[in-house]
Symmetry: C2
Subunit: 309 residues, 2 copies
């Protein structure tokens, strides 16, 4: 089954396109988990981050279609952090979640193939076993090809950075090339890769990362890449709203998954959840913030949103 | 001591600018080591790759200033591979080599900071403890900043992808922006970062990745980034020659380190080393190929090369 169809099935089953970002910033962990991290060794921190992610997965698995572990917050902790990442991916898959490895990896051909072979895979077929990953386009088509090929073999997905959510993303991505911004040239290539990897649902197994913080460009990119699933970061803490991301969806309410990391994981630190639950009930804040995001997207998604089905 | 000065000291001590790339492709390991990898589990493969890298380090540590482990070939093996990478970095540092973590990492600001905090560090100050890393520029200046800042604090270095060695690198990197290729715009930014991080040697702690496979562009980039150390991949197996990389050096024979991975690691597979040493004496082939590259660069480097001092 094509990854595009697997993703559609997961979104339709849950009735929402929410992607929960697993960014276990060890300095921000709730006190009862952080006590372990504060002990100081890399192994202790990794164990705390893993414990935190497992609870988050338990809370969100009945609610959302997918999670996106951010490799940086595991790699930051050294080899023990990466071992924890492996276990987190496995646990999320066991709980029925699609797992998108957010590593923004890439390299020249044969090295890109090593990343793809390692990271992408269904059960037992790769040491990491993620369902999809994020990749950077700067190295060009021959660097993307191994990811696309391995993804096709394994019913996995690839999301290529097109227009990132950070303010500085514009520095190179918005440079004008023959009257069009660079990110539109990248988008054209992604659309070709998506069209060449179509599933039954009308989308391909190659998608695009397009930030919620650029709503106007997002709408243009939806038109430019009608066959690409969008992975939309930047919702919540980075400023993107449900109306900002509305243009990412097609008329069926499909075609995009919207990520939220800090706004869900650390919801206990912000209003109204800080007052309602506080740190002691941080898991309840995770659940409430996830449900709030589902409702916000449903109210702002074309055709009333999948959430209203 | 600024990373640029640390690198210069290492190059001058060894009398050559050779960077040995540690790409332990497990399928290509010599038979006596591969027997272990063939057993099949990720842990066995990781152990074989680690054993291979340790021997390579033993052979090249007396000869060259630095090694560049390619993260992909360790990450490919899963968490055990990353644990092996951690031990390989530590071992190389113990043997007096500078270690450049080739991960082409990057992400938005606070996530980029997690990568930088984790990967860069001197002894005991980071879980990976590399002296420098490679990063991708597509996410712009605010994504590069955390790497530059952490590098400054830790006397570490950053190499930004500017013009990569693969043929497809031209796809986006050579797009014309107001009459100049994109990679030249990236180069201008790298030069600014290099100038803002100068050591005693006249170079900064921020450098550039510029492929040996584009000799003409390499010469132009040397002029465009007079304060940036170049990390030059693409020598040997990818087709770059000693005369192709000559323009990367300043008149003192400094300012660039030239990487060779397969051409050194798997020298036992190619002429003349296959006949001379064969697989049984693959370590001798590593030593001979390293010495050959040192001599080739010395014969083609400005001022006769550091090798002739």
């Amino acid at each position: 089954m094509n990854f595009a169809d697997r993703l559609q099935a997961a979104v339709e089953r849950c009735g929402n396109p929410v992607l929960v970002g697993l960014d276990p910033r060890w300095q921000s962990l709730p006190a009862k988990i952080a006590a372990r991290a504060a002990a100081g060794s890399g192994a202790d921190r990794a164990a705390a981050c893993e414990a935190f992610c497992r609870v988050v997965i338990d809370v969100v698995a009945p609610l959302v279609p997918a999670v996106k572990p951010q490799a940086a917050f595991f790699e930051q902790l050294g080899p023990e952090g990466m071992a924890a990442l492996g276990r987190v991916i496995q646990y999320a898959a066991e709980r029925g979640l699609l797992v998108i490895f957010d590593g923004k990896r890439n390299d020249i051909g044969s090295t890109a193939a090593a990343y793809a072979e390692g990271i992408l895979g269904s059960a037992g077929r790769s040491p990491w076993g993620a369902d999809a990953l994020t990749v950077s386009p700067y190295l060009g088509d021959d660097s993307l090809r191994p990811f696309v090929d391995v993804a096709a073999q394994r019913e996995a997905g690839v999301f290529v950075l097109v227009k990132t959510s950070n303010p500085g993303g514009a520095m190179f991505q918005d440079l004008q090339v023959a009257g069009r911004p660079l990110y539109r040239i990248v988008a054209d290539h992604v659309e070709n890769l998506a069209k060449a990897s179509l599933g039954q649902c009308g989308y391909g197994s190659v998608g695009a990362v397009v930030g919620a913080t650029w709503p106007e460009q997002l709408a243009g990119l939806r038109r430019a890449m009608p066959h690409a699933w969008f992975l939309v970061p930047g919702f919540g803490s980075q400023g993107g709203t449900a109306s900002d991301v509305a243009a990412a969806f097609d008329q069926r309410g499909l075609g995009a998954i919207v990520n939220n990391s800090r706004g869900i994981l650390f919801a206990y630190q912000r209003a109204p959840y800080a007052g309602r639950y506080g740190e002691a009930r941080w898991e309840d804040a995770v659940a409430a913030a996830t449900r709030e995001m589902i409702d916000l997207l449903a109210a702002n998604t074309p055709a009333g949103g999948l959430g209203s089905r």
